[in-house]
């Protein structure tokens, strides 16, 4: 608990900090007396911006140039395009005393980032860390290296190293690549007691070649992505027999959809969807796995409403890694996954409704209700509900206290962490 408070304090301090900056007012720039003739964007397609932001940029045409306003707009353009830097430049307009504002969007030619890294602590599960270092040559290739110890997302603690490489073709519309990982598993005693012979594994090595297609991009941050690939895995089983290795090969297809409309001031709605299919192709297992996820997030001013749902089904003889887990920091928050499904489940239905209200700056107070069920085929599902509240920031920090809603004792779960 002390560790949780320490980590929460450290991460909160890190994520609520604001970089020191000082901005001269409009009246200190001699060019603020000139009229904006046009606002242009270079280095990125204007179509990738939200309609609201594009309209706002257009509204400044015909007005006096305001350095402060364009500083804010540059920040919003940078956030929406996820660019490294947006540098506003002024140029003489075609008419006297007019200026053209050019927002130059710059990505790094070689970008090093820790995006998609994660650190979390959970009352029952302890630490989870996932550090992923990505080195990306803009619009060409991407290399990622990472280490992880995930005691949260799967039923087992899954620790190891991973690496990946992908190349970008046709303006990023086709990205062939591969990923490799080597991991070791550790189990809770309840999982070990519930498992059958040869059900659990000690180590797993994975190799996954994938081709990602982007068949369609809409005009307002809409994108459809299709991943087609193979997953080749070799497991060393946790078995009394020495060196008992088995293999699992599967065809893995994923369809993703994302759409973002509007902006925060007037109302921003983000819609995401994912459908993933894995079909065993050979080896020692034969299975079919389907997973469906969807989410809607609506943000307006200081209010945010998020609704997420997930459903999954696993049929056949599948490796332990394919099973679903709930009662972690993602699904049925507040429940203990080792209590409700120590071996995970072959069926999952879960949903979450969360409301957040901005407190100050990036800090937000939120309340949520999670509901769902995890069960195995042939067993009647039991619906479970949990509720919680906490603090989070827009940058990814969270501190939640969640309670399972049931008769009898109340056992709060504390979870804190951050995504980078």
């Amino acid at each position: 608990m002390v560790a949780a408070v320490f980590v929460a304090g450290f991460l909160f301090g890190l994520f609520s900090a604001r970089a020191f900056s000082w901005n001269p007012g409009d009246d200190t720039n001699v060019n603020s007396r000139y009229t904006v003739e046009s606002v242009e964007i270079t280095g990125a397609s204007e179509a990738r911006l939200s309609r609201g932001l594009r309209e706002e940029l257009r509204r400044y045409v015909g007005q006096r140039f305001s350095p402060e306003a364009f500083a804010r707009l540059s920040g919003r353009v940078r956030d929406e395009l996820q660019a490294r830097l947006v540098s506003p430049k002024l140029m003489k307009g075609s008419a006297p005393e007019s200026v053209r504002v050019v927002l130059d969007v710059m990505g790094r030619r070689v970008n090093v980032s820790t995006d998609r890294s994660r650190l979390a602590w959970h009352t029952r599960q302890g630490w989870t860390g996932d550090l992923l270092l990505t080195i990306e040559e803009r619009d060409r290739q991407r290399l990622s290296l990472g280490v992880f110890s995930d005691g949260d997302t799967p039923t087992e603690r899954f620790s190891g190293a991973k690496a990946g490489y992908s190349r970008s073709l046709l303006n990023g519309r086709i990205r062939p690549g591969f990923s490799v990982s080597a991991a070791r598993a550790q189990y809770d005693t309840r999982t070990l007691q519930a498992a059958g012979v040869n059900e659990l594994y000690r180590n797993v090595d994975s190799f996954q070649p994938t081709v990602t297609f982007i068949p369609w991009r809409g005009d307002d941050r809409e994108e459809l992505t299709v991943d087609v690939g193979l997953r080749l895995q070799r497991f060393a089983l946790l078995s009394p027999e020495a060196n008992r290795n088995v293999a699992s090969h599967a065809l893995v297809n994923t369809l993703r959809y994302r759409r973002v409309r509007g902006d925060v001031e007037t109302g921003r709605t983000a819609l995401t969807g994912l459908a993933a299919l894995a079909n065993g192709l050979g080896g020692d297992y034969s299975f079919d796995r389907q997973e469906l996820r969807g989410g809607v997030e609506h943000q307006r001013g200081g209010s945010r409403l998020t609704i997420d749902f997930t459903g999954g089904s696993l049929r056949g003889n599948a490796p332990f890694t394919e099973r679903f887990a709930a009662g972690n920091t993602l699904f049925l928050r507040g429940w203990n996954k080792f209590e409700i499904a120590p071996l995970g489940g072959t069926r999952l239905l879960a949903s979450s409704v969360e409301y957040g209200q901005s407190l100050k700056g990036k800090l937000e107070a939120s309340v949520f209700v999670d509901t769902g069920s995890i069960w195995n085929r042939g067993v009647a599902p039991e619906a479970r509900t949990s509720a919680g509240c906490g603090l989070r920031t827009r940058d990814g920090f969270f501190f939640y206290v969640a309670f399972p809603l049931r008769d009898g004792r109340i056992e709060p779960m504390v979870m804190t962490g951050a995504t980078f």
């Binding site: 970089a19 000082w22 001269p24 720039n29 920040g75 830097l85 540098s87 090093v112 940058d395």
Partner: protein, 194 residues
């Protein structure tokens, strides 16, 4: 010396003058102005290179000028004065404008590059009242370009993420911030020319 040799030397000087300008010693000249110590750095040119390009892109850049007085060669500082200025470049008139910030805000426009540089030094001074007129003193002028790094001269409010922190520290180590420091001394306040 024949006429060809003279012409050759003249041509060489003509070519070398722009380069020699950068070699001139950057000294600090001091004077007393109505009980206030003022400094001038006629050979220090800081509105050039990348800074000048950013100004020509329409950015307003912030400069801090600090004058420090010491009676013991800067083991201790007896007096200090800091002024902040915003410099911008008029795109249509191709002249510089400077605004001194804070209480008693002052501004000047239609300045040449050298005049804009000089204006900042002329509008920064340390009061001499109360100093021992016959004691030796040293003065140091420190100039720093404070422009926001992340925005091409405009403020952005970068969200603090691990990636951004790594970038920020990386830039700080490379020393992108521009600073100049000049000293003069020893001098006695009683001997200062008006």
């Amino acid at each position: 010396m024949n006429i060809t040799a003279r012409l050759f030397i003249l041509a060489a000087l003509f070519v070398a003058i722009p380069f020699l300008r950068g070699w001139a010693p950057t000294t600090l000249a001091i004077r007393k102005d109505d009980g206030v110590l003022r400094v001038a750095a006629p050979n220090l040119h800081f509105l050039e290179g990348r800074t000048l390009r950013r100004l020509q892109d329409g950015a307003g850049l912030v400069f801090s000028l600090q004058l420090s007085l010491s009676a013991d060669q800067f083991r201790t500082v007896s007096r200090r004065q800091v002024e902040r200025f915003v410099v911008s470049f008029d795109l249509w008139e191709e002249k510089f404008a400077v605004v001194r910030l804070g209480s008693g805000k002052q501004e000047a426009s239609h300045l040449s590059r050298e005049a804009a540089e000089r204006w900042m030094f002329d509008h920064t001074g340390v009061p001499l009242l109360g100093l021992k007129a016959d004691a030796a003193h040293w003065v140091r002028a420190e100039l720093r370009a404070d422009e926001p790094r992340d925005a091409g001269g405009f403020l952005l409010d970068p969200a603090v993420t691990l990636t951004r922190l790594v970038e920020w520290f990386g830039r700080a180590q490379r020393g992108e911030s521009e600073r100049w420091s000049l000293e003069h001394g020893p001098f006695r306040p009683a001997e200062l020319a008006r």
